[in-house]
Assembly symmetry: C2
Homo-oligomer: 429 residues x 2
């Protein structure tokens, strides 16, 4: 069932194809997103209401819901679900809380003291997907680090449901986060609104959150056109599994299908030292797929998924580092030896009892992660994504006497005599 | 001499203009940079040699210099200058070294352990400006954190001088950093080559470094076209000075001129609670400007520079936070009370004996900083810029029994039954 390759037989061309994930849209999406941005820039709220009617099929009176309506909707969530969302909240908070560290001061030269201080990004925008796939978990993953960082204004956009309201789970998460207002906006128009600001939607400095190709393109364009920062570029979700004979075929198949049910363009890659395991995984995939409600989507994703076999785990780790997976599962009892060799990955799941789904929802780590090989240069979302680290320095009279002459020489060799003079006037005082 | 405003008289429109720095080129630069990128994509090294002849007026035999030639050039640097560069190196290293912190593990639920580990970005590209403004200091500011992070491949591009060689100071810094090979490439073509890779130039995952508008535009385009990460968007350099009557007019004028000598589009802003101080600064500016070799450039920059007066320091701090300066000097004996209120800035210089030039060269902090208001969302370059933080998690059998039921509920409410099943199969084992 899975396309299976022997690592030694893979040509350079085939390898390049197996590593490639970027889905180029040929510029078509860019054109429509640019039109949406232009419309929002020109007509503000009016454009947003028109676009929402046109694209989401919902005619809104106003572009937001406020705290009383949020509370009313949140009350629809049953107790079991509430408790699960609260547990996830607590674990995510526990893990992210430790990321806000106060750094110590360094005296680099006698009298010259340097340090960094954290400051929250004041205005951030969170995009929470809605419509067909409502993801309250993404709201938790973005909202909690934003709260821990201390962001003053957290603007949340989520597309309205057909009834013009927001999803009750999203409403409940809003109450947990203490968010008082949610904007009923989806797609590229939500990103455009947060990047530009309109009568109703506050302008933000950085935009976070997953979304379809239009949302992603809008984030990229907002960054290059207006300098609005963003969490990271995003593509279809993916998992790579490194497995040896200690792995459990049933567990692996379940993890691969969990990935594949996301979308037809999702990918699950199995790298294994055991041919027998791959055989068993194929059998399990067939059985488990039958019972899956999103079977059709998952089947399509399985077509672009594949397995690679070789005897040497080291070679598989190398392939994994080249692939740079968003999610990496090390399905092996030997995970403690393998994990230090992992160089490129978004989030790593160690051992046979650590399913990706745990990290997707509730173990505490963030699920907003770099896809499509971006893990070579990007980290997943964390509290770091919501703060800036500002450098501070204080130099005493003694300090400038010690360091000044060095700076004068360096400014001089770069022919920046004004720089040199700013030292000289202080040394001459 | 400085355009001076009373804060209370500033209209909303004037304020918007005073805060604005983005220089839009109307798309002309984008078109030429896109052509350069296309040429490099199609013809590789051949394009690079042609573009270097055409744009830099230098006909090269090969696109790089190697270690023997680097050493020979480095030997031209005199001892005083060597020592100054070494002192800067040591201070920068001392300050940046502490940024690489090992985080502790968090047990979020009994049996569920999560943590982050640092991994260097394997392949990074450093752009070191050359030609008219040679900046060995920028090479230090990028190379040292890259070394501390542990980047495996550090690709350095710098434009060739008219004699086809690199600058001796750049060569000396390369020997300090242990860089064995430097690529003779400048402008947008250098960025394109590092983003795409050619026969001679290795492809990198992230590109760092200051440059002119073409270099900056190329970095932005490489990010949106190929997903090559970059340090930050960059505009003209700027300083903002918060000053009260304890400030020294001579020092302030020298700091403003140091900023203004960078380029005609640089800006120095003086916010003061003392009208008398601004008067004195104007007198000092006149005197000091006369002696400045780069007087013509600085005079132009002074035209777009300005002062704002009001009695209340709090109001000035608020303006400064809205401006979000690259460099902020707090020229006041009261800096300890002011500095906690600073929310948006790249790097902050505290007190009357802390000139910006110290941080530009040798105090230890990084001088690659967010300009044009980007300090609202971006930090300056640090070791963080050269690493990814990968999340790891391990869940024991006990852990999945504790956390699993919560994940099942959450996956179910998002209608992701494959996710739920990946838990169920493990709970049922």
């Amino acid at each position: 069932m899975l396309s299976t390759y022997q690592l030694k037989d893979i040509s350079a061309d085939t390898k390049a194809r197996l590593l490639l994930r970027n889905t180029d849209d040929g510029g078509q999406i860019e054109d429509s997103v640019k039109q949406i941005i232009q419309k929002v820039a020109q007509k503000g709220d009016k454009a947003l209401l028109e676009l929402t009617e046109q694209l989401d099929g919902v005619k809104l009176e106003k572009l937001f819901v406020e705290v009383t309506e949020i509370s009313a909707l949140a009350a629809q969530v049953n107790e079991n679900e509430r408790n699960a969302l609260i547990t996830a909240y607590q674990n995510i908070e526990r893990f992210h809380q430790q990321q806000l560290v106060k750094e110590t001061k360094v005296e680099t030269t006698k009298g010259v003291t340097c340090w960094r201080e954290n400051r929250a990004i004041e205005k951030v925008g969170l995009y929470v997907p809605g419509g067909s796939a409502v993801l309250p978990s993404s709201f938790l993953m973005l909202g909690i680090p934003a709260k821990i960082a201390g962001c003053k204004e957290i603007v949340v956009c989520t597309p309205p449901q057909k009834n013009g309201k927001i999803n009750p789970y999203v409403a409940f998460v809003a109450t947990l986060l203490g968010i008082q207002k949610i904007y009923l906006l989806g797609g590229a128009q939500a990103v455009a609104a947060m990047a530009l600001g309109t009568e109703s939607i506050p302008k933000v400095s950085k935009i976070f959150g997953p979304g379809n190709q239009y949302v992603t393109k809008a984030k990229v364009l907002a960054q290059s056109m207006f300098g609005t920062a963003m969490d990271m570029p995003a593509g279809p979700s993916e998992v790579l599994i490194l497995a040896d004979k200690s792995a459990n075929a049933k567990f692996i198949a379940s993890d691969m299908l969990a990935q594949c049910e996301h979308g037809a363009d999702s990918q699950a890659v199995l790298l294994s030292t055991s041919a027998e395991l791959v055989e068993k995984v194929n059998i399990e995939l067939k059985t488990q797929l039958e019972k899956l409600p999103r079977k059709e989507i998952a089947s399509k994703a399985l077509i672009i998924s594949y397995a690679i076999l070789t005897e040497n785990m080291g070679d598989l780790i190398e392939f994994s580092n080249e692939y740079a997976p968003e999610h990496l599962i090390i399905a092996s009892d030997d995970w403690e030896n393998i994990s230090p060799k992992i160089i490129n990955a978004g989030s790593v799941f160690l051992g046979n009892h650590t399913p990706e789904a745990a990290g997707d929802y509730a173990s505490g780590t963030n699920h907003t992660l770099p896809t499509s090989g971006f893990a070579k240069a990007y980290s997943g979302v964390s509290v770091d994504s919501f703060i800036k680290k500002i450098t501070f320095q204080h130099i005493s009279k003694e300090g400038i006497n010690n360091l000044g002459p060095t700076v004068e020489i360096l400014a001089n060799l770069e022919n920046l005599h004004g720089h040199k003079n700013s030292i000289t006037v202080r040394l001459e005082e």
